[in-house]
Symmetry: C2
Subunit: 219 residues, 2 copies
DNA sequence: GTCTATAATTAGATAGAC
DNA sequence: GTCTATCTAATTATAGAC
């Protein structure tokens, strides 16, 4: 019997109690990272709690179940996306609006790759989580982008991508280096999340997707 | 005590033995699907075995560990990719070579979404599996595509995408509807894996990425 | 609201009969 | 080579002291 196993009658280990008024936000942020890296099944509530120096049952206290924690994390991320994309001004030039969306989308994908990571973990096979995600957060954006793209094609500005596919073409091309950030760090010579790489990425995408655009910088 | 729990002294349930000479391939194919849908941690060897009506220990018999099963599945998938992409003929027209790669890549992504699904499950955070995957299978393709793209840009045929990013832009734009196949089925009106959607996707990508190309069909 | 202890389930791997 | 039985470890959720 080892020394550590002896003292079953010793007083309980005197761990100090950690009260924090922002523990819910800390757990949420930790969950976003773990769900992004490992997916719903792969992430463990123990690991999510320990990442912010909390105990596993605190998750059940603050979020009831792992599924509700996941849902709160996704809501939180999509709220951040909405804020990052900003409001689309109805009267503004459509090409400039689209170019702004591309820039903000790439910047958000680099800053918060977890959103696309979680989306992709869920979107490979049907599930209750995927249905909720699609109905609540994805379809409205899919339809809005399709409308804008049709306008741009009618105006002769946009590349010949089918409007029903532009959502996937744009998001795929804009997010993959950050979705696959650990791989990109192994492949690229520069830091994929650096401002220089992001700028080159954004400028290339805009020029490629809107070949008929009059660049406001050069006009 | 229920009827089912009574007979602990009954003869063992007479399950019929299932010998199959292709069981290794069956397990491999099943593993590809499960690893694609759920990732390495999320997939269970029990579920992989039961999908082809086998028992869980058969996996350890044929592949020793779950990690070696995963590795064999990835090798199998990349061998299929190599076969689908075909050999690049060094003397051929570079623009036609690239257009062929795009078409075959989209078709392969639609037929075998599991390759990109597995890649993305692994590429979000560092791991031994990711390092092996990148060194063995990804980097050679990344470098080859970068070279071809630089040639196309020098010839004035290619869109203004940075050569160090074309790998991600192309693969992201080409594979996302199939990587996220369950979501795409909820969003698109047509079947994302139908020949009609694939053709529109391919034609749009080639025309967008190679705006300076003389389309061999129309010339 | 935080913490320890633990229940209930499930995972990957192994032993040994056949 | 297939199969049952089982080991050990890890999982989420719960009970109850503080």
């Amino acid at each position: 019997m080892t020394q550590a196993e002896v003292g079953s009658d010793r007083p309980a280990p005197p761990r100090t109690r950690r009260d924090r008024d922002n523990i819910r936000e800390l757990l949420l942020e930790s969950a976003i990272i773990e769900f992004g890296e490992k997916g719903f099944e792969g992430a463990s509530t123990r690991s999510i709690a320990e990442r912010v120096d909390a105990h596993q049952p605190q998750i059940n206290y603050h979020f009831a179940t792992k599924a509700e924690l996941w849902r709160a994390a996704v809501d939180h991320l999509f709220a951040q996306l909405s804020k990052a994309l900003g409001d689309l001004e109805p009267g503004a030039d459509v090409a400039e609006t689209f170019a702004n969306v591309v820039r903000r989308l790439v910047e958000f994908s680099a800053a918060r790759p977890q959103l696309h990571q979680i989306m992709t973990h869920e979107s490979g096979s049907p599930s209750e989580r995927l249905t909720w995600l699609t109905d609540t957060h994805v379809r409205p954006r899919y339809l809005e982008l399709r409308t804008i793209w049709t306008q741009l094609q009618d105006a002769g500005i946009a590349a010949p991508i089918d409007p029903s596919l532009i959502h996937y073409v744009l998001i795929g091309a804009a997010s993959l280096p950050y979705l696959n950030i650990a791989e990109a760090r192994l492949l690229l010579e520069a830091d994929p999340a650096s401002a220089a790489v992001i700028d080159r990425h954004v400028d290339g995408l805009i020029a490629t997707l809107l070949p008929g655009r009059t660049d406001p910088i050069r006009k």
